[in-house]
Every structure is written in C-alpha cells, then in structure tokens.
C-alpha cells in the first residue's frame, strides 16, 4: 500500500516547481539570477525539473562583480552549455567604467553594494519583468519577511511594510510597466535542506564548496582567499589552509572555514553541527543590524 504524503524535501521541491511555473505563466520575460552559488544552482536544477521535458524557457543572468573565483565562472559556462540556455551578464566593472557607480573606499571596501546598480540596469535594459532568486527566509532577518512573489517599484525598490499578502498558493504577479518582481522559489528551504537535497539529487556544485588547500588571509574572523584583488594590511600574512566555503560571493569578502569535508555526505554532517549561520562569514552583513534590509530596500538580491 502506498503512502499518500510527501516527505519534507519532496514537498519543498513541489512547492518550488509550482512557483517557477507560475513565474513562467505570469511574466513575459523572466530570468534566473545566477551567482554560481549553491542556491542559484539549486534553483536552476529545480527549473529544469519544472519544465521537463522542455528546456528551461528563460535565460540565466549573472551580475558579475569582476571579483570572481575563477572556478565559479568555469562552472557557470559549463552549466550554460549543458542546459542550452542563454546567459545574460551584467558587469559591475562596466558600471564603474561608465561612471554609473564609484568603487567604495576604506578598509572593508567591497563591490557588494555596487551590484545593486548593475543589477537594476541589467533588468531595465533587458526588459526583465521577473528576476528569480535563490534567497531563503532562514538566511537573514529581513529575508524572513520576503514573499514568494516580491514587488519592486519602477526604481527597483522594495517596500517591506507594504507587501502584498500571499494566501494559500495564490500568487499575484500583476505589475505596471517599468516595475518588476523578484521571485523566490526556495524561500522555505533552510541551509540544511539545501545540502540534504543537493546530496539526494547529487547536484554538481563548484569545487569551492569542498575542502581544499588554499592561500588565505585571516581577516574579520574568517579566512579570506588570497587573490589579485586583495590588498594586504599590516600584520596580515598569507598562509596555506585546508578550507571550504559555505557561501560563494565576491572573492574579496567571502570567508572560508577550516574543514576536512570533501564529499557531499561530509558537508551535510558538518553543516548539521554548525554553530554559526552561513552568512556569519559574510562581512557585508556585519556592517549593521539592518544591513541586509537596507540593501534590499534599494533593490539588492
């Protein structure tokens, strides 16, 4: 006799597929925001399932800070080939060269906030009416209030106090010209769910997530990878460590953790015993108590 209920991973998968299909049905020109991180890889994997046996019917869009892990770019290009979908790249370097944004100054300068302008420009110039992201509500307190279908005004801004209520599984993607939506199919997944699912489905992820030897610098309580973009401060030294990354972002601010986890099984075990949130190693979130909310209001991912 079969059971007629889903286990929690199947239910999360089914919910995400439902949301991806609603995006396709309700919008003219959606894209998947692809960073090369595990969450956007997961969303892409789910999109493949949602439209099977057809190909994913919309492009992937990468907002390229120019401060990349080389592994991420390679991974991205291979995946695009495999899926046979279009890739749109929004370049932060171009935004800087065109004078749309200026590099941050100071010790902890990053290109993180600059991405907002590039992202919104790319959305506008490509007439995108829905950008699908891998944001999860468990990541950060401002994200806990995010809707599956999240409205952005014609300046690309989010108004968290004035969000459309979402009831049952009914999603309202109605918008005026110039406005767009962000859609978050994996809102209800936690970091642990993501790893359990990646392991179950055996989804390919960049090698950076697995423990490997790397040259790193100790900064802001985490191991920052050595790269040509990094300016060493006094007293800082480059050392070789066996590390892995829990999240992937701008190479200058993404901290690694010391780890021996070199398989998906070991990562899942390690994550379940973690005492810090995954964004705990992201210096962009440490700037203030509401750093994420402030960036999100302006149009951040």
């Amino acid at each position: 006799m079969s059971k007629y209920y889903l286990n929690y991973l199947d239910e999360l998968e089914s919910e995400a597929i439902y949301i991806l299909r609603e995006v396709w049905a309700q919008f003219e020109n959606p894209v998947i925001l692809f960073s090369g991180g595990k969450d956007s890889i997961l969303v892409t994997h789910l999109a493949k399932k949602a439209f099977y046996p057809a190909k994913i019917p919309f492009p992937l869009m990468h907002v390229d800070t120019g401060h990349n892990f080389p592994e991420t770019i390679q991974f991205r290009d291979d995946l695009i080939d495999e899926l046979g979908v279009q890739l749109i790249v929004g370049s932060v370097q171009e935004s800087i060269d065109q004078g749309r944004v200026a590099e941050e100054r100071g010790k902890n300068a990053t290109r993180n906030a600059l991405q907002i302008t590039t992202l919104l420009d790319a959305i506008e110039s490509n007439n995108i009416d829905c950008a699908i992201g891998g944001g999860r509500r468990d990541e950060e307190k401002a994200r806990a209030k995010e809707r599956f279908f999240s409205h952005r005004d014609d300046f690309g801004q989010w108004d968290p106090k004035n969000q459309r209520p979402e009831l049952w599984n009914i999603l309202n993607g109605k918008h005026f010209e110039g406005e767009h939506f962000r859609a978050f199919p994996i809102s209800n997944w936690t970091e642990m769910d993501v790893w359990n699912y990646i392991q179950r489905e055996n989804i390919a992820i960049p090698s950076l997530y697995f423990a490997h030897e790397r040259e790193v610098v100790w900064r802001s309580n985490s191991w920052i990878p050595m790269s040509s973009f990094l300016k060493l401060e006094e007293g800082e030294e480059v050392v070789k460590k066996k590390i892995r990354f829990r999240t992937l972002g701008d190479i200058t601010i993404t901290g690694g953790i010391e780890s021996d986890a070199d398989t998906l099984e070991k990562i899942a075990v390690e994550v379940s015993a973690m005492k810090q949130t995954e964004r705990g190693n992201r210096s962009d979130d440490k700037r203030s108590e509401t750093a994420m909310e402030d960036r999100k209001r302006q149009g951040y991912f």
Partner: protein, 418 residues
C-alpha cells in the same frame, strides 16, 4: 542528520506582545538548537543595549527595522526548525486586531495553530479572535497553550478554569481537533521537555505533540483536482509531438488510465502518462507537482482544470463566500475586480454584502455593509465567466480566491467559498 522520510508541518502562532508568543518561539528555536551562535551573540548584545536582564528570547523573532524599534511584529515572519522527526515552518503573525490580515495570511497554509492564553487572565477578546480566524481558515489542528503557568503556581485549577472558558465559547466554532497544554514558555515547562512542576498533567509536551500529530489527512485525497498552470511543448528531438499539462495536484489522486474531464470545456479523455524528470509516475497525489499527458488531442490551457469524470467541482458564476478585506482602501461598490482562483483569472464583483462579523463577539452586523481593512463578511460574488469551485471546508485550494484591484494591482481581499 537523516530525516528523509519526514513530513513538513506548518503552524501559525498569533499573539500580542504580552502573552509570551515570541518567548515561546524563541524557546522552541533555542531548545531545538535552531539558533546559531552569531544570532545568539547579536541578540545578547541587543538585549544588553536595551537594558534587559539576560537574553530576551523574543528578540529572535524581530525582523524589520521598525519592528525592532517598536518591539512589535508588523508582518508575517517565517521561522524554521527541524527535529529528527519533522521539519517545521512557523508563520509568526502579530495578534493585534489591526493585523487580522496577517493572521489570515499566516493561517491560510497552516496545518496547526498555536493559540496562547495567559493563565492569569484567561480567555480574552484576543483569544476569541485567534480561535475565530483559525476556524474561518479551517486550520485542521488547534493547540491552546495556557502560558505563564509559573505565575499561577502551576495550579491545576487555574488550568481547568481557562480550559472551561475556552470550551464554552469555542462550541460556536467549526474546529476539528483542539488540544490544551499548560506551559511556561519562559521556563520551558512542557515546551520541549515535560514539566516537573505539573505532575498532574498527563499529556505530552508541545514539541512532542507537534512532532507526532497526524497531518497526512489534512489534504483532501478524495476529490481529484488538477488546475493547469502551463502547457509544456518541448519541440525538440524525441518530444516533437509531446504536449503535457503542468500543474500541482490540488487534491485527490490521479493515475494513468483514469477517465478525466477537462473543465470548463467538458471534453473527456484518459490520462496517458504522468511525467517528471525522474520518470513516469504510477500515481500523483496532492500536493505533488507533475506534468500530465492525455490520450486525446484537446485544446487545454492555463486556467482549465483536469478532474475525474465521476467527481467534478461545481461550475458557477455566482456563489457565497466569507471574505476578509486586506487593504487600506475600502471596497468600492459595483466595481469589477480581478479574481484569482487556482490558475484561473476572471473578473468579479461583490454583488452583495450579507453581513459583517465582529470577530471578538462573533455577532453579525447586517446594517454596516462597507468593507474596510480587516473586516470579515459573508458576501455574494458574481464572476464574468464560470469558476470551478469546491467548498473551502472540503478543499482549501479550489475553495479559495483573492481579489485584485485593477487600478493598483494590489491584492485587496481573500475569500473562502461556502
């Protein structure tokens, strides 16, 4: 952590600042180890800055800047925790009357509702409000947590007094499963661990109740309904003539070979395959996402519904519903709204407001017929084309709808079909 065969349980909590709701959630997260060191450190430093003694568990549930400043919950916040038995999603909603719309939103997908009652005060207006919304939204399970038992000396008499008050007023409500628990969220009595202070209570603590409660019957498995979201036409080698109907099973079970009717057209056919990327399925049941192919070539598009020929929903342009008004701008008489019902979209009008309900006293008001924010009313709806409906009581997906104001595109009301 291997919990692959475990179910997902969604529950909602409603409460005000004082009844310990945030403390209870903080306690569940903390004791089930869903709180990380950096989150704890952030809350510790905020507690200290605000001059609180010890760690204020309630701070774990604050989100937006305004909420932190004002110390209140404005919007629904979602929280997650997992135990070896289940994964939980908490929809944490503010309990104040101004936020009825948020309670309704949080309740719409919940398997269970936690209602907190302060043991010292007993049942108050707010308790009745929460119970009413839980019953209106047909949350299958209700858990009444009689909190702050530590402040009434863990007295069995105090507990029974509240229990009796609740029983008395709730007899007017339609609730299937109610349980009562004496707890102290602050001290952790009967939250995760059984209380040593209340040996007279024989029931299981809250977490155990949540972990073991029977929820697989919460979704209707009888009436097979498959609203079509989109049509899949791969137009690539190996699938040139493939035409699949993608959707999520709203209720019931579908199998290849089933005789089905496509509504509203009324054409009949037989299910050929139920496809997923992993391969064809022997059956698909709610809430699975799948792609159905039929033995006949029929014109089917988004908004249509595939149902079993021997069990159809009602096709109608006029029906009664309970409506909750969600928007600042009040309803406009005789105005056409866009109605979203499953994957279908039509125009609709509120033809008549029969009565409004006072959610504190459950009294009906037939005089005042204007709908404004947080009002709940029984109405008659008329649509431009037929909708394929079931009663909300039988089917939360095919029995629910929202109204959208075409001038603003805002979601202005949510309805449950009677």
């Amino acid at each position: 952590m291997k919990i692959d065969n475990n179910q997902l349980l969604r529950f909602t909590t409603a409460g005000s600042v004082d009844d310990g709701k945030s403390t209870l959630i903080g306690r569940l997260l903390y004791d089930s180890k869903a709180i990380f060191e950096d989150q704890l450190a952030a809350v510790e430093s905020t507690s200290k800055r605000k001059g609180h003694e010890g760690v204020d568990l309630a701070l774990f549930t604050d989100g937006l800047k305004d909420e932190r400043e004002q110390g209140i919950t404005i919007d629904v916040a979602y929280r997650y925790f997992t135990t070896p038995k289940r994964k939980f999603i908490i929809a944490d909603t503010p309990g104040h009357i101004q936020y009825t719309r948020n309670m309704v939103t949080g309740a719409s997908t919940a398997n269970a509702a936690l209602i907190l009652v302060d043991a010292r005060n007993g049942v108050i207006e707010q308790t009745k409000r929460h119970a009413f919304i839980a019953s209106l939204l047909q949350i299958p399970h209700l858990i009444v947590c009689i909190n702050k038992m530590d402040l009434v000396d863990y007295s069995e008499t105090a507990y029974h007094k509240v229990l009796q008050q609740f029983e008395e007023f709730s007899s007017k409500l339609y609730v299937k499963d109610v349980r009562f628990l004496p707890i102290s969220a602050l001290n952790g009595d009967n939250v995760v661990n059984r209380s040593e202070n209340m040996p007279w209570f024989q029931g299981a603590p809250l977490l155990h109740t949540l972990e073991t409660m029977h929820i697989s019957s919460d979704i209707n498995k009888i009436d097979a309904r498959f609203p079509v979201q989109t049509v899949i036409r791969p137009q690539r080698e190996g699938f040139i003539d493939y035409r699949g109907y993608a959707g999520r099973v709203a209720s019931g079970i579908f199998r290849p070979g089933d005789e089905v009717t496509i509504m509203p057209s009324g054409f009949t056919s037989v299910i050929k395959t139920i496809d997923t990327q992993e391969g064809a399925l022997k059956e698909a049941y709610a809430p699975m996402s799948a792609c159905i192919t039929l033995t006949d070539d029929i014109d089917i598009s988004r908004g249509d519904m595939i149902v079993k020929t021997n069990n159809k929903p009602e096709s109608t342009q006029e029906f009664d519903a309970m409506l909750c008004w969600l928007h600042n701008a009040p309803s406009k008489p005789r105005v056409k709204y866009t109605i979203l019902h499953t994957s279908n979209e039509q125009k609709a009008m509120v033809k008549e407001v029969l009565y409004k309900i006072d959610i504190n006293t459950y009294a009906r008001n037939v005089e005042d017929k204007d709908l404004s924010m947080n009002d709940i009313a029984r109405i008659k709806v008329r649509t431009t084309r037929p909708l394929l409906i079931d009663e909300y009581r039988d089917n939360r997906i095919t029995g629910s709808f929202v109204l959208i104001d075409d001038a603003t595109h805002e979601t202005v009301a949510a309805g449950m079909i009677l």
